[in-house]
Amino acid sequence: MLGEFEYLLLTAAVRLGEEAYGAAIRQEIEATTGRRCSIGALYTTLDRLEKKGLLKTWMGDATPQRGGRAKRMVRVNAKGVQAAASFYNAIARVSRGVSWEAKRAVSGP
């Protein structure tokens, strides 16, 4: 079972497709969640997911806007897609019949 951040990372990488690399994934996660994503969390999670065999990373091309430095490119493989789908389905199943808006209204101040 994936963790929440692992799921976010896999989803962002799949959405970005061929353009998935460190900075782009980080920007995608920050834009969609509205939360700050630290570079430490990003790269250690990438390593963990790669060790689990859910994605593959390699050093890509350098670009001038990166000061001539290479990107760490990311590609989610079939096992990664399956793990993300499984996580999403589990969240969907467990959330069925629960309305968070209603709960917030009841327990809120």
Binding site: A23, I39, G40, Y43, T63, Q65, G67, A70, K71
Partner: protein, 304 residues
């Protein structure tokens, strides 16, 4: 504020693996973060990497079994050599007279003492170099912890006078507390009891070992034969360092042999200290020569 922060980011990111450093610094440049934000990010990543690394048992084994003992041992040997040479330094430097040069007998003594001290200092430099080389080549990832701990072991040994406590447990050629000895006058001077040992340690231990850490980190891939030569030399040097200050030295140099027991005259282990750097030099220089020759042969074939 921004420029020093970026300079610090460069320094901190050197603690990461080369590919990761490249990717992370590129990400910082692309995302347009401030120097302070980038510094926090780099520090966070290094901290996470180190935390993951030190959950394993191997780095702890290397730290407790090699790094700290080597630091304490070098501190001990450095202190012994500084104390030993302090007497002659005081004799010649604090009481200099041209008679030491003009008188034939005094000149012979001066040359003999200078040669003896130089050989001991050279051995100390070589031992320090080999210890640093081991630290650098063991594991790149553990260097951020191992090197400061090694330096701390050296300084604590010196500052807390650990060699004197260790003298009670390890057999030493002579007790390391000279205040009551016949040379007490020399060691009662603050320079020879405090400053001189620190200068010796700084110049002959800290600098050579840190320099060797860099060489250990940049060690190229070697063939099995070269690797065997190099590591045999390194092991011999570390073994000599370990034994030179204990039983070996005591029986060799100190007059505690129960006479008339026929103890053999043991040779000095100081020359063995040279093996570590010589092994490195042989392995790396021969590899460079081979690469150059292969390159020239490839050029010749290309043009013929």
């Amino acid at each position: 504020m921004n420029r020093p922060a970026w300079w610090l980011v460069e320094i901190v990111s050197r603690l990461l693996a080369p590919d990761e450093r490249e990717a992370v610094n590129g990400d910082f440049a692309e995302s347009g973060e401030s120097g302070a934000q980038a510094l926090l990010g780099a520090l966070g990543l290094v901290a996470r990497r180190q935390t993951a690394l030190w959950r394993e048992w191997r780095p702890w084994l290397a730290l407790l079994g090699l790094v700290i003992p080597l630091g304490v041992l070098l501190s001990l040997v450095s202190r012994m050599m500084a104390d030993g040479s302090a007497i002659y330094s005081w004799m010649y430097l604090n009481n200099w007279t041209w008679t030491y040069v003009t008188n034939a007998g005094a000149r012979t003594d001066l040359i003999s003492y200078a040669a003896e001290i130089s050989l001991k200092f050279l051995a100390l430099v070589c031992w320090s170099w080999t210890a640093g080389f081991l630290l650098g080549s063991l594991s790149r990832a553990t260097v951020p912890v191992n090197v400061p701990v090694f330096c701390l072991a050296l300084f604590l040994g010196e500052l807390l006078r650990a060699p004197r406590y260790l003298g009670r447990w390890i057999i030493l050629p002579r007790p390391l507390g000279h205040i009551d000895s016949v040379h007490g006058g020399v060691y009662s001077l603050a320079f020879y009891s405090l400053v001189f040992p620190l200068v010796v340690q700084m110049a002959l231990v800290i600098f050579p070992s840190l320099w060797a850490v860099r060489q250990g980190l940049r060690l190229p891939t070697l063939t099995m034969v070269r690797r065997t030569i190099l590591w045999s030399c390194v092991i011999a040097t570390v073994a000599a360092l370990g034994s030179e200050n204990s039983v070996w030295w005591q029986f060799r140099t100190w007059n505690v042999r129960p006479n008339p027991a026929p103890f053999p005259h043991l040779p000095s282990l100081l020359p063995i200290a040279l093996l570590g750097p010589i092994g490195y030099w042989l392995a790396v220089v021969s590899r460079k020569a081979l690469v150059r020759i292969q390159g020239e042969q490839a050029n010749d074939q290309h043009f013929s």
